[in-house]
């Protein structure tokens, strides 16, 4: 047993370190509360315990233990449900909601991170048992680097060119560039929008990007991130001051209209560029077309 103790503890340590490393709270403000963090670190600890004990079980050819492990790992599917439920409940109280697609994306990430923790702990313990502590250390660090690489998806700035553009009113119609956004009847609201509003145009770089930005959930995610990072000039009783994202049907560009409290255009560009592309919104349409062409060719 002693022979196994240090490798297992080492694996657990690296699993927890990798979970903590992956839990960086940024302007998206989640999980920002101490209890939310505690829950995720505790789950990460359980995941790393599971991961670390697989290696000794396999080495001792205890396959029953490995079977039980798969049973235990299935519990982590509930993490996604937990996140989805919590965020959906909270979403109704957001001035600019995250939207279901964004919530699903976040829930997916939380589930995925636990599996990465399991892999990190497993490989670290295995390296310790098969080689020595130094190889285990290298394996652990490599796993953490790999995890952070796996967890960093595409950003909006990778798929679209973002540029600021002026807002204008044509009678009661609000336009961002040439894109019609909404009809604002009351002059006082028009003045608010002229004072606080900012417009941006996202030009998709290719077909995949265009399909991704067409997704309403992806657009809602951009609006939510902008309002949570830059603040918003709106209260619950002002539906006329709602940030919007509309598509230019001619060019496929997306026009974004926001009302940030922080009137720094450079920062707004950064924030929009940093919004993650959501897995459920991103589609590889180019590949699909290639397959169709290939089938036609044959």
């Amino acid at each position: 047993m002693d022979r196994m103790l240090y490798p297992v503890l080492f694996g657990i340590l690296f699993g927890v370190i990798s979970r903590v490393y992956m839990m960086r709270t940024d302007y998206r403000q989640y999980p920002s509360y101490l209890h939310g963090k505690t829950i995720h670190i505790a789950l990460g600890f359980i995941a790393s315990c599971l991961g670390s004990v697989i290696a000794p079980a396999i080495i001792d050819q205890d396959y029953t233990a490995v079977t039980f492990f798969t049973l235990a790992a299935s519990q982590f599917r509930d993490v996604r449900n937990m996140e989805r439920n919590t965020l959906s409940e909270l979403d109704s109280f957001e001035i600019v909601p995250r939207g279901k697609t964004y919530i699903e994306g976040i829930a997916l990430v939380f589930e995925g991170r636990n599996y990465l923790v399991i892999v990190t702990s497993f490989l670290t313990t295995l390296a310790y048992l098969k080689f020595n502590v130094w190889v285990a250390l290298a394996a652990g660090i490599a796993c953490i680097v790999l995890s952070s690489f796996l967890m960093s998806g595409r950003k909006i700035r990778d798929i679209a060119d973002i540029r600021p553009i002026d807002l204008r009113f044509d009678d009661a119609g609000l336009y961002v560039g040439n894109v019609y956004m909404m009809n604002v009847g009351v002059n006082a609201r028009q003045e608010d929008i002229e004072r606080w509003g900012k417009g941006f145009i996202l030009k998709p770089k290719n077909l995949n990007a265009s399909v991704c930005l067409t997704n309403l959930g992806q657009r809602q995610a951009i609006l939510h991130d902008c309002s949570s990072a830059l603040g918003i000039y709106k209260d619950s009783g002002n539906p006329a001051l709602t940030p919007l994202a509309k598509r230019d049907l001619e060019t496929g560009e997306i026009a974004i209209f926001i009302l940030p409290r922080e009137q720094d255009t450079e920062r707004a560009l950064q924030v929009i560029g940093n919004v993650p592309t959501l897995e459920s919104a991103y589609r590889d349409s180019k590949k699909r077309l290639q397959i169709l062409r290939w089938k036609k060719g044959n």
């Binding site: 909404m182 009809n183 604002v184 009847g185 009351v186 006082a188 609201r189 006329a240």
Partner: protein
């Protein structure tokens, strides 16, 4: 089918152009229309949309 947008009030200076359906507020001039539409927007949590001069609808989105 869910109807999630509806006209809750009409504010107008053109009496002859509207009837029934939603509450209609008759006003004497554009200033009054702006004032009433602004108040209704705030009270009803709707958005005042301008159809044309002197004809505003308050829509719940």
């Amino acid at each position: 089918m869910d109807i999630n947008k509806f006209i809750i009030a009409i504010v107008t200076t053109k009496k002859e152009k509207v009837s029934g359906g939603a509450s209609v507020f008759h006003c004497n001039d554009d200033n009054e229309v702006q004032q009433v539409a602004g108040l209704l927007e705030a009270i009803l949590d709707g958005v005042a949309h301008k159809l044309y001069e002197g004809m505003y609808i308050i829509v719940k989105h």
